[in-house]
Chain length 313, copies 4
């Protein structure tokens, strides 16, 4: 009954005719649960599950640790929580408020809980999961310095957790690879085997303290090369055997004056948002801005994807 | 329609005869919604609301800033999230795992959302709230160093957010006072007016980014003198006009070996858990432990409650 | 704090950019909770509330009693329940399965619960409601004879309870009027004052037995002249001061052979679906079908709207 | 992945220390999900699942059809819905309002949905279920004549759907037997094979029209010999391989005058509540009351259990 064992199975959900309903893929069409069919390209997706709790690991791929010069060897995973209102859909919009510039993608795999989990042994985790889906742990690093580590302003905003297109079981996720694309250009690539803590290890660790319930999800970390995206961009997160999650960046209004504390950009937030490109960019500009990154990103991405994460020397 | 305006109104919920139902107080009895009545002292309380999202402010009372030598004057509030599984009831148990020693109380006021809030102006906040209840932002500081600021291990554990006994509206919370008691001895006392950021300011700030929905709650911070409690202790959080939340500390088992990363106690976690008593205690013991604190706490509490928070000089 | 007292207030919800969010009307645009605005005519509505329990009264307007020759004077209201999966949206589709012909509209007012109700006195009902919305108690009378009174097959099907466009409070619903339109032609008209049992009376009666919770709805009955509609038709339910709910009838596939018990049309189901027109139609055809009604309905509707409900003589 | 295939698995939930949590049986103790253990006899059970939709079949065992002289051979199943507020727990109370006398038990098997079901083929049903639990389709037949077939007043009252003690999978329910006991005396007995429509057939039929979602339940009918129970009685529903659900009948207050329409007892309601005993009892009393039944029930039950359902001749 392990979630890793075949056959592969999918659950998709779409909003159609005023209601959310399940559906299945049939060629280039979706067969809705009520028997009707629609063109897949026209589908208005809903999230495949509606989690109450969303737990995210701060850091779990070696390449991201390398990029930031961190040593995870002797450590432990740390987590934060996104509110359920962060959930978004395949083809949904990522809204960058007008007073923000550092909206970063983070391609991730989400593990979806199938049966209530508390105190679950590592070897029993696979039997408690319902499946996996693609996720984007979107963050507005403009709020990096006003979050004290919890990531609530940065990553908890409405719509900052798109998942989809499908909940998939029957795939050995341990052998899968993850890739992220911006406007068709590959920007992240990693194998699940590069995770510092395996998905089973994360779930056993979290549920030592916290009950996870059916539909809850755990985002399992992003590899190196999270970078800002901009209104007009398309971001895609692909997980082998699971699917490809597509989202579009749009601009939203800044909040009216005096409505909450303002976004601020500091060297720290720039350093996190731009990663190892911060050093390269600041040769020209001090400090570099998101717009400097945007102007140079075609070349930077190409070079980075060719070289891999910088060694910390 | 402001939540601050009279008349005062209460909503309580109890588990009785296999079901959760509403009730109202009538002398020393509760009149259940189905017309039956029970002795209040025998009631098995359920949480007055079932929030999907629980947002907590890290630091909001001047006295706590003073205790830790922090300057909030020019700053902004920071927040973290507890999962919904942290909710606990009036008279519920606070379970301290056997491998933990630093389980701290933090008496707080919880604001309960009545209507969906996003982008709400400060002056409109009172009109969107359903009421207030007492809360205890319980934390196991043994995990302080493995949380990277998110407080998920420390404060997100199952049952670490007792609320109750009632959801109350029609009280001007801005004029209320907050007190916490351990085994009948007063351990925290503050006026809501001592908050750095008012409840309306917090809600306007959070909902700049995040939609809060009916039943969601915001914990608004604790004053100075959060300290460890121990199995056998009773903790009470009293808010004037709102009620008095009672909880009992019990010991739970440690997790089986290899089930997640272990609790650890460091100077940092001891410093947070013991607050300004850390300095006093380490004159005798280096480092002091929770048990040292326990042995001395009667005198420490009496002295602290008499003196107020230490000036930081 | 009565739901009847001004000021008038609206809550609308739309699916936009992958998420459901609240919004408010501003001229011909909707201002979304995140500050963006869209053309109202392009909006993809979500239901204004998501009830767990939907209670419907079988019969509550004198004119419908007259149409069916029933005497309600000495009686009591009777109710049935739709599952929550019946909820549909403003502008959503009403799907008529290919093996059905008798899909009827029933324009109604839905009362929306604001605070948990059990054992509520009639005079306290208005203080427990959140507001009102338009509803269509859609039914496929092809299943009339296979329901034994519960209406589950007839009226409980997915999407057979559209509500919207808004949840509205601050309107004295007791003075409102209800109208239904098919393809722009008025087909039902009644004043709320024609209800046999007032909305407060219904709610006090139901909650004698059953707890209603925030967001739950009660559909309060339809006046005379419920009739079949057909794929391609547009049905609108308008409640004065509350709004106008628009839905489109489309055809869905019949279930595959052997998947459940078949739709059947009998004199009884035809008699209910065609109401007082049954007698007129059967002069020509015995028995008349939905298609006979469709061919004649322009004239029948015009005559019926002019004459009012037949006296039972 | 069929719910019928071993190994057998249980999910139980209890309210303990202010929270609902999962647990498993270990001898005469329950091991809670947080690692603590309690005596099973002291456990305060919560329902094993929290359904949004509860569908019940009116009539599905041949013996009950025989008792009421009904012919199901050429027919179809009919259903009604209980609101979610009817759910009650193992060891919960069945509250008989003081103005009611005809509170009947109906021992049943509840099928619990595991994956969203719509348009599911009969042969795929077992793969969509999460398991089974015992249920009691409690009804107050005093409202029989004021329900018009929907059973909402009769069977939809708060707490009139106890389920438990456990959700069980891995048992071939088609080979199970069902028994009901009142105060230890057996009052109903049937094999699942006596159902007119199999569980798979019911689910395929219902989901032709209606989406069922994870946690939703279908009550699959009761065999003959549903009878009234009285305050002080204990009712037990046992399903082989699934468990034994225990509930206690208590008296609740009548509603205050003028709060809803009154309970009434008629020959029809007596006939349904007393079943084939109605004829026997009315030899002495015309009409017989619930109290007449109560006085005679020891003998009546013994005789009925020995004879089986009366032939209708």
């Amino acid at each position: 009954m392990s979630v890793l064992d075949p056959p592969r199975r999918e659950l998709r959900r779409v909003t159609h005719g005023g209601r959310i309903q399940g559906c299945r893929v049939d060629g280039d069409r979706l067969i809705l649960d009520d028997g009707r069919s629609i063109h897949e390209v026209d589908a208005l997706y809903a999230p495949p599950v509606e989690p109450a709790t969303i737990v995210c690991v701060h850091l779990n791929y070696r390449s991201r640790a390398v990029e930031f010069g961190l040593d995870l060897a002797a450590g432990h995973p740390t987590y934060f929580v996104k509110p359920a209102t962060a959930i978004n859909s395949h083809r949904g919009q990522l809204v960058r408020p007008a007073d923000c510039t550092l909206l970063n993608y983070e391609g991730e795999i989400a593990a979806v809980v199938g049966r209530t989990m508390r105190g679950v042994r590592r070897e029993d985790v696979w039997d408690h999961l319902a499946g996996f889906t693609c996720a984007n742990d979107v963050g507005a690093h403009d709020f990096r310095d006003t979050d004290a580590g919890s990531m609530l302003r940065v990553k908890g905003q409405d719509g900052f957790c798109p998942i989809g297109p499908a909940l998939v079981s029957g795939v050995d996720i341990r052998r899968a690879g993850l890739r992220t694309y911006v406007n068709g250009q590959k920007v992240q690539e990693a194998a699940v085997s590069e995770m510092v803590w395996g998905i089973d290890e994360l779930l056993a660790d979290i549920t030592r303290h916290i009950s996870l319930r059916p539909g809850d999800i755990v985002l399992t970390g992003t590899p190196w090369h999270s970078r800002p995206v901009f209104p007009g961009d398309t971001v895609e997160v692909e997980v082998e055997g699971i699917g490809r999650l597509v989202n579009h960046v749009v601009e939203g209004p800044a909040p009216p004056p005096g409505r909450g504390f303002p976004a601020t950009v500091t060297k720290t937030s720039l350093g996190v948002a731009l990663g190892s490109d911060y050093r390269a960019l600041k040769r020209d500009k001090e400090p570099p801005t998101a717009e400097h990154y945007r102007a140079a990103r075609g070349d930077l991405i190409a070079r980075n994807m060719a070289s891999g994460p910088p060694s910390k020397e």
